[in-house]
């Protein structure tokens, strides 16, 4: 059957199936007797079936029409089969487009997925009952399962279902054989798409329905509009940046990070996923002695990049230690921990932070302006996770605008730049690659690494505690002689 025009039968597009409108228009063009895919009559099991098309013809037509590569056309063709617009005549369970002489037919518009009615269970029950009669009880296993299920919960309607099935069966027997075969094929294809057997990937299997009904009219309440107005007024008050400025920033970001992107510039020594050798990861671990030159360059890009890299942060802390201003970083880390930590730990942490960093005469007193200090200390009376925000931002900006640039000019950093490794790129032979693939390094579990890190932090916390002179004298550790 061919159709020439697309008539909108008041079809409601299913939620998330808006794409099907375009697909439909496409399928109509495909069926055009003059410019569409060439159809012919084919013999299938004695009967001659009209309007049969081959896979390679479909593919060639899509390639010409959409001006795409063969592979893309194949993908699109497979979608046409998966949604049930075209169905295969032989291997009817595999809903893919095979680009050879495999035979397909166009599905009748009655069975297109855009129809207003969803594939109801009762229709499926009638179909299965009819098939049962025809095959004299020999249904396929997945069909049998569905049949048993439906029989169980639709039992009260079963007489009606069997009656419908027998009526349809009798009606079909009165048709001519070729028509009967075609109609059977169409119906079977429809149900394979809407009730796919296991291992069949059908396009109509679209997952869970979303809660909202996209075809429902949007009801705008008074409250909603009022809120929108408030939002818009606030948006107007906020200033935006000129496109030229922000877009140039994107280009700059991309260009500076180009060499650091492993998918654009081959990483040295090699991409672990390609060569199965994980040296790249080992050279970039948190506690490695000498970092790679690429990492060291990346630290210079911005303060955030420096402290995001654990090795970089460690280096920065070393520099701060030399400058005797380690308390800034320690405060920043403590504040971060409080902000992202558990709610129950907040009072204890805020107390610790106050005693260590904020109170007058504290061992690691941070140097912030009086106003911020006053606000923070006052806020600590009723601590919440964002109470240190003002102080933290101040310290962060201080480090970012001042300490960071001094770090880049410091001997610590310059030394690191000289020492940094430039690993030689790997050049594996095929045999070596095969060997690599067999001996992939399992690496260390992140749980073990985390435990190590926590142990290190605890040890550092103990070491950073202020020395209690009296206790040391009491245990005779401090000899006054």
């Amino acid at each position: 059957m061919t159709i020439r025009t697309l008539r909108d039968h008041g079809q409601h597009y299913r939620p998330r199936m808006a794409c099907l409108k375009k697909v439909e228009a496409f399928v109509v063009e495909m069926q055009d007797p003059k410019s569409g895919v060439k159809a012919s009559d084919q013999k299938l099991n004695i009967t001659s079936i009209p309007h049969v098309i081959t896979g390679q013809d479909i593919l060639a037509w899509i390639v010409t029409k959409m001006k795409v590569t063969t592979e893309e056309a194949q993908a699109f063709g497979t979608m046409l089969v998966a949604y049930g617009y075209i169905y295969p005549l032989q291997n009817h369970r595999k809903l893919v487009l095979v680009a050879d002489s495999t035979l397909y037919r166009f599905q009748t518009p009655y069975f297109w997925p855009v129809q207003k009615w969803p594939a109801e269970d009762i229709d499926y029950a009638i179909y299965l009952a009819k098939r049962n009669i025809r095959k004299k009880g020999m249904l396929e296993p997945y069909e049998q399962e569905h049949y048993n299920n439906l029989h169980k919960w639709m039992n009260y309607k079963w007489d009606f279902i069997v009656m419908q099935a027998t009526e349809q069966y009798k009606a079909s027997k009165e048709r001519k054989k070729p028509d009967r075969v075609v109609l059977d094929c169409q119906e079977r294809a429809y149900w394979i798409v809407h009730r796919p057997p296991r291992r069949t990937h059908s396009g109509m299997d679209y997952g869970l329905d979303r809660l909202i009904d996209p075809n429902a009219e949007e009801v705008l309440t008074y409250d909603m509009v009022r809120r929108t107005n408030i939002f818009l007024t606030q948006a107007l008050m906020r200033s935006a940046v000129k496109s030229s400025v922000s877009l140039t920033a994107f280009v700059k970001y991309v260009t500076t990070h180009h060499t650091h992107d492993p998918l654009l510039t081959n990483p040295v020594p090699s991409n672990p996923w390609i060569t199965d050798n994980d040296e790249f990861w080992q050279l970039n671990m948190r506690n490695v002695d000498i970092p790679t030159k690429l990492s060291v360059e990346r630290w210079a890009l911005s303060f955030w990049e420096l402290i995001s890299d654990q090795r970089g942060r460690a280096d920065f802390k070393l520099f701060l230690k030399k400058e005797h201003s380690g308390e800034n970083m320690a405060f920043y880390e403590a504040a971060e921990e409080m902000r992202w930590g558990a709610a129950t730990a907040i009072p204890e942490k805020s107390q610790f932070i106050f005693n260590t960093f904020l109170k007058p005469g504290a061992p690691r007193w941070i140097n912030i302006d009086g106003r911020t200090m006053g606000l923070t200390v006052k806020g600590l009376d009723c601590p919440h996770r964002y109470v240190l925000d003002a102080a933290q931002t101040h310290i962060f900006l201080l480090m970012k605008k001042d300490t960071f640039y001094r770090y880049l000019k410091s001997p610590v950093y310059k030394d690191m730049q000289k020492k940094a490794l430039v690993p030689a790129p790997h050049n594996f032979t095929d045999a070596q690659l095969e060997a690599n693939a067999k001996n992939r390094n399992p690496g260390i579990s992140p749980i073990v690494l985390w435990q190590q890190q926590e142990a290190e932090k605890a040890a550092a916390a103990v070491a950073a505690r202020p020395i209690d002179v009296k206790a040391m004298v009491a245990t005779n550790k401090l000899d006054r002689k």
């Binding site: 998330r16 808006a18 794409c19 959409m66 001006k67 795409v68 893309e72 699109f76 497979t78 979608m79 997952g207 869970l208 979303r210 809660l211 909202i212 996209p214 949007e218 008074y222 509009v225 107005n229 939002f231 818009l232 948006a235 107007l236 906020r238 935006a240 496109s243 400025v245 922000s246 877009l247 920033a249 994107f250 280009v251 970001y253 991309v254 990070h257 650091h260 992107d261 492993p262 998918l263 654009l264 990483p267 991409n271 996923w273 390609i274 994980d278 990861w281 955030w304 971060e336 992202w340 930590g341 709610a343 129950t344 962060f396 390094n441 690496g443 579990s445 992140p446 690494l449 985390w450």
Partner: protein
């Protein structure tokens, strides 16, 4: 002008219809005013600025690992910070932790519900969070002992009134951000299960979220079935910015690596780039031949490439600056449902409804 307080005024009821239409009119004028203001700042297009940038050469990516083991559609996946481990969840309720480099399965949990649509790896690597049709988000601490039953230590953290669509840990293991089909997002404290902040503003299911990578780290974005992508302030719970240019449900949102922009993938078969500082959409990634929706998007490390997994079983790779398609990757046998680039950018992983995950590099 004399004001007289007449008795009728005190008992006068607010005429809802009258004020509603007034409000709507005001809303329209505000919208046009905002658009005009933003249009004044729009002096150049992205591809114009990108003209001086070199084009990308031939781009070849292949499947380097195929992870087989799920018995049903893979719905979601996430990378561990160690750059090689992955957690993935599927329709049959199974959540599997893989070492993708060796393709070994390390842990497996069976959730009591089907359709586990959200899963996330904790920053420490010691726990995973997952949820779906059970309306909850549960955290499972992982252990080194292979025989331990992880379900015993499960902790139920989030409770929504409808399905959980996405979840993500913030900068530590102690907080989780979730989004749900009930139209809200919420921030939870893991230890106590307490709701720290809830975010209302979407008029329909919220399908995806992503946390800002920037130094302030205080915002996140969400995309929903109301075609809107919203930017939220985590501290106050307010929606700071909103973008409504998509024509259909937004399936996935992802921040640009610098934190100043984000991309979204939608059922209308387009991916779009939004500039947060200029407060507008700056690019649309679409083609005539791409008809089926994008389910998942992610950027490469430099932000030059945008990977999109689509419902027609393919993955399209876009040049973010020039707006052209660099490559199209085939291999999956059913729709691509999840796509994430690894933390160090060496590869990306795609999960699909064909029961497998593929790592590409």
């Amino acid at each position: 002008m004399r004001f007289s307080i007449s008795p009728e005024m005190a008992t006068q009821e607010v005429q809802p219809n009258e004020t509603l239409s007034n409000l709507k009119a005001e809303s329209d004028t505000l919208k046009t005013k905002l658009e005009d203001e933003r249009a004044k700042l729009h002096d150049v297009e992205l591809h114009q600025v990108a003209e001086k940038v070199d084009g990308l050469g031939q781009f070849i990516m292949k499947t380097r690992r195929t992870l087989k083991g799920h018995g049903n559609k893979v719905l979601c996946m996430d990378w561990c910070k160690d750059k090689r481990r992955i957690v993935s969840s599927s329709q049959d309720g199974k959540v599997i932790v893989w070492d993708a480099f060796t393709t070994n399965k390390e842990h497996a949990v069976t959730m009591p519900c089907t359709w586990v649509m959200a899963c996330a790896y904790a920053p420490s690597g010691c726990a995973v969070a997952c949820g779906g049709l059970d309306n909850k988000c549960s955290v499972y601490p992982l252990s080194l002992d292979k025989n331990e039953n992880l379900a015993a230590k499960k902790k139920s953290v989030a409770m929504h009134t409808n399905y959980l669509s996405a979840c993500s840990f913030t900068n530590s293991d102690m907080q989780i951000l979730t989004s749900s089909g009930d139209g809200t997002c919420a921030l939870w404290d893991v230890e106590s299960g307490q709701l720290l902040q809830s975010f209302h503003g979407h008029a329909a299911d919220v399908l995806c979220l992503d946390l800002a990578p920037s130094e302030t780290g205080n915002t996140f974005i969400s995309g929903g079935c109301d075609k809107k992508a919203n930017v939220w302030d985590m501290r106050s719970g307010q929606c700071i910015q909103s973008f409504e240019t998509h024509e259909s449900d937004i399936n996935s949102v992802r921040y640009y690596p610098s934190g100043d922009a984000f991309a979204s993938g939608s059922d209308d078969a387009t991916c779009r780039l939004y500039d947060l500082r200029a407060d507008r959409e700056v690019a649309i990634y679409s083609k005539e031949s791409i008809i089926f929706g994008a389910s998942s998007v992610d950027f490469s490390l430099s932000g030059r490439l945008l990977f999109g997994g689509y419902n027609d079983y393919t993955i399209n790779v876009w040049d973010v600056l020039k707006g052209t398609r660099v490559s199209i990757l085939f291999g999956h046998e059913n729709r691509v449902s999840a796509l994430r680039v690894s933390p160090d950018g060496t590869a990306f992983c795609s999960g699909s409804w064909d029961h497998t995950l593929r790592v590409w590099a």
